[in-house]
């Protein structure tokens, strides 16, 4: 009987997990099904599209370079701050740094630092001259795009690394490194970097997949001769001619191939990085990269300053300041805020409501998925769990929409929460997987010897040790849910407006002042989530923090 119950529970668990993790695949199959028959001529015409090759290579370059750059910077920052009194400050500040939306960072960077941007104009203005045109970030280029995305992703990777770091005996390893005669800097790279790199594969992949298919940033700051692949694909996908439909189908297949290449490159990069470190260790070469790390002792101040500058820019815009006015001639007013605040309350409540439930459910299903794998000793490859992040979102949600209409589903909050679940699940999986699998078993063994049952051990020990990572996962899942535009609009059919559906629609018009109002409010939601998470996380400690006060 007991085995029967156990089997039943297990299979129910698997079913739930399979449903949530499998929804993306289902959506893509339904949504991508070619609406027009594809012939050989279509394939030839597809590859004859002018600039396709360059568009693909540019996009691949950005998708590789930006996340990797962000990861390296994040690791160097982590290594500089981890055993430094400022670590607490950094953890506290991660919240605001994480909550600026990508769009805000991109807009802010371009506005402040582009040629003819605020900063250079102000500097040159001091001498009564106009800043030269060649100075500053080009407005549409690979460089700007890589910079914007990598700057934005550093705090995300820091969050991942800090969740990982709680589960690793970093201090002990550094000591062992010292005993072997390595400097602390070298030990960081030789002993800790390889394992962290391995453990953050998922996060890397998520950042790469995001960059690969991000549309608004590609349009705004990406190069457009030729356009980046996401833009080209979107144009086909929203076209109506049979030729465009055929291109859209083939284009999505190419997108999947590109994704495969990115996954492959993660492994190649890992192998290459570990090889380099090994050769360096054996040959006792000096660590150049370790010397670079020192620069990043200033990262926190720099990044905080940038965030404040961007926020200040948006605040000024929202109060009626623009490039025509100086500080004294602007028509300062809160009219916009007063106007919009009345209309914002419902979307805000909806956002909170949906994000609250979908993040808690997402984290719960993640725990279930991890636990089931642990119990049945069946480890499924990571990309199966991350399909929501990896597969093309537009086709996926379109497939869901077809199914949702077929079921005559209502346009209620419940359905929207369900449509966010795959995304919150995937992101909390990538945050939790590392900590969950590198938990120190020692405590549970001790508890078992005291006669605790499995579930008691689970709740009292494992869950408690995981709490900081759980909080990070919840905060990330929450902000992911807040940021969803396509599923919310397509499944909710506009019946349920959220702050993001409003913000994205408004931002499409490029009107500075009103866009600023919505971006600030949109950033406030994840900010609250990260803030609560970080306050709580400081009160409770992860497994190794418990040993290393």
């Amino acid at each position: 009987m007991a085995t029967k119950i156990r089997r039943l529970t297990l299979s129910t668990g698997w079913l739930i997990v399979a449903l949530v993790a499998g929804l993306p695949l289902f959506g893509v199959i339904v949504g991508l099904w070619p609406s027009v028959p594809i012939s050989g001529a279509d394939v030839i015409r597809f590859f004859a599209y002018n600039g396709l090759t360059l568009s693909i290579t540019n996009t691949l370059f950005i998708s590789l370079a930006a996340p990797l750059l962000a990861l390296y910077v994040a690791f160097m920052v982590y290594s500089q701050y981890r055993f430094n009194p400022r670590w607490q400050t950094l953890e506290k500040r991660l919240a605001p740094l994480l909550s600026l939306p990508h769009l805000a960072v991109a807009l802010g960077l371009v506005y402040l630092f582009s040629s003819g941007g605020m900063v250079f104009n102000a500097l040159w203005g001091l001498f009564g001259q106009a800043a030269p045109d060649w100075l500053g970030l080009p407005r549409k280029s690979l460089l700007t795009m890589v910079l914007a995305i990598s700057i934005k992703e550093v705090p995300f990777f820091l969050l991942i690394l800090s969740a990982l770091g709680r589960q690793l005996a970093i201090k002990d390893w550094l000591l062992q490194g010292k005993a072997l005669g390595y400097t602390e800097r070298a030990s960081w790279w030789l002993l800790i970097f390889p394992i962290m790199l391995k453990q953050s594969r998922l996060a890397l992949l998520a950042a790469m997949a995001y960059t690969l298919s991000v549309l608004d940033l590609s349009l705004l700051i990406g190069p457009n001769i030729p356009q980046l692949y996401a833009v080209v694909l979107y144009n086909w996908q929203t076209g109506f001619t049979t030729y465009e439909q055929a291109n859209a189908f083939l284009g999505n297949l190419v997108l999947l191939v590109m994704l495969g290449l990115l996954i492959f490159s993660i492994y190649v990069h890992e192998w290459f990085a570990v090889m380099r470190l090994r050769t360096n260790a054996i040959m006792a070469n000096p660590f150049r990269i370790a010397r670079i790390s020192q620069i990043f002792t200033a990262w926190l101040s720099f990044f905080s300053l940038l965030t404040v500058a961007i926020l200040a820019t948006f605040l000024l815009w929202s109060m009626g300041w623009n490039s025509q006015s100086t500080l004294s001639t602007a028509n300062w007013s809160f009219v916009l805020w007063q106007d919009e605040w009345f209309f914002m309350q419902r979307p805000l409540l909806n956002s909170l409501n949906i994000a609250f439930f979908s993040s808690i459910l997402g984290v719960a299903v993640t725990l279930l998925a991890l636990e089931l794998q642990q119990q049945t000793k069946r480890k499924l490859p990571d990309y199966i769990w991350l399909m929501a992040i990896l597969l093309p979102q537009l086709s996926m949600v379109y497939g869901w929409q077809v199914a949702h209409t077929g079921l005559s589903g209502s346009y209620s909050t419940g359905w929207i929460i369900l449509s966010h679940l795959p995304f919150t699940f995937a992101y909390s999986y990538l945050v939790l997987r590392g900590p969950f699998q590198s938990l120190n078993r020692h405590y549970e063994l001790v508890a078992a010897s005291f006669g605790y049952t499995y579930w008691q051990r689970w709740w009292r020990i494992r869950f408690m040790l995981l709490r900081p990572a759980l909080l990070s996962a919840l905060a990330i899942a929450f902000s992911v849910s807040v940021a969803q535009y396509i599923p919310t609009l397509m499944i909710g059919a506009g019946r349920v407006t959220t702050i993001t559906t409003e913000a994205v629609a408004i931002a499409s018009g490029n009107e500075q002042s009103i866009t600023a109002v919505y971006i600030i409010v949109q950033a406030a939601l994840p900010f609250i989530a990260f803030l609560i998470a970080s306050i709580l996380a400081q009160r409770i400690r992860g497994s190794f923090d418990a040993e290393h006060p």
């Binding site: 549309l215 349009l219 457009n224 397509m490 490029n510």
Partner: protein, 410 residues
Amino acid sequence: MWLTSKSLRFFSNLKRLNQLAASIVLTAVSILAVLPGVNAQQVLDTPIIQLESSSQWQQTLAEAKGETVYFYAWGGSKPVNDYLRWAAREIASRYNVRLRHVKVADISEAVSRLKAEDGSKSAIDLLWVNGENFSYLKEQHLLLGNLWSSIPNSALLAIQKLPLQNDFGVPIEGFEVPWGVGQFNIIADESLFSHTGSKQNTVTPSSILAVATQNPGRVSYPRPPEFHGTTFLKQLLVALSNKDQRLFSAATPQAQEDLLPLLWNYLDQLHPLSWQQGNAFPSSNTEQLSLFQQKQFVMTVSFNPNEIEKEKSEKRIPATSHRLYFAQGAITNSHNLAIPKAAQNSAGAKVVIHFLLSELAQKQKLNGSWGDPSVITPLLDEASTLPAQQELHSSWQQVIEDKWQQKYGA
């Protein structure tokens, strides 16, 4: 997703519509709309009241009571959003119909929803649409017909003065109702074109080239297929070919061979002088406008003839800016309202259209912060209307976009 209203493209392979049926419908509509008579005032007053008291309309009003109309419309413009908030209040108090603006970043999202619903009960009651999106929906039989004949205020439409019968070369035939018009114009500083020798307030391809020569790197246009960019190219083509008549009929290979090189030769001269030497273009008219506001550009393009006044009053552009148009005339088209065939609140949607075409609503749209030109006869303002230039035949749109992509897209 950050999107501007997507390029308006349509099929080169439009089905040849049954000419006879089309003309019958059109005649019927025009008889309804324009009763013979020169005294416009009289013409306008009587039929509307008659139409409004017809049993058909009374039934629509009764049906509409208490309905909620979900109106899918681009939400990227605060003036438009504010206007719709005003309209929602008015409609609620007059007709007891609730208007909900579903803000989308791009109306193609609504089209894709209609595609997914595939004719089953729709979540959309009303949408703001034109160009290729309309022609697709019409071709797929997803739209409700006979709107002009079932909505009283359609009789006010200025079909005599404005090109309201066709939407980018596709006959409207009652499947959508014009709501406002756009006219292509250029915004620049007064002094910019003053010594290029072109006529007052007009530009020509050569005067633009002269300006680009004097201000290298400060002239550009939105990257096609964004429709402001494509329209800019169309205006150039009209001017460079001296209004060649072949532009207004299907683009034959011969016509393409004769006319398009004029445009490419011109662009070959313009691009090296334009922003980033033509290695990048603004993604949209809004991006170009913000670059103009930041003094990176000396000119910007717009489809709203009254945009300049709005920008000036908000002090977003210098007070010395003024509006110009192409000497051959400003390309003019309408943006429209349509009801999906499967809409669940079509009566309410008709009431909303009826209100939006009323004199009160059209006046508020024209004089309020939006400043969108009116489409009804009583409010036609000759002074603010630019000399119009007919849209090119729809087949040229695709040709220009594809060839541009081939030549300059990479």
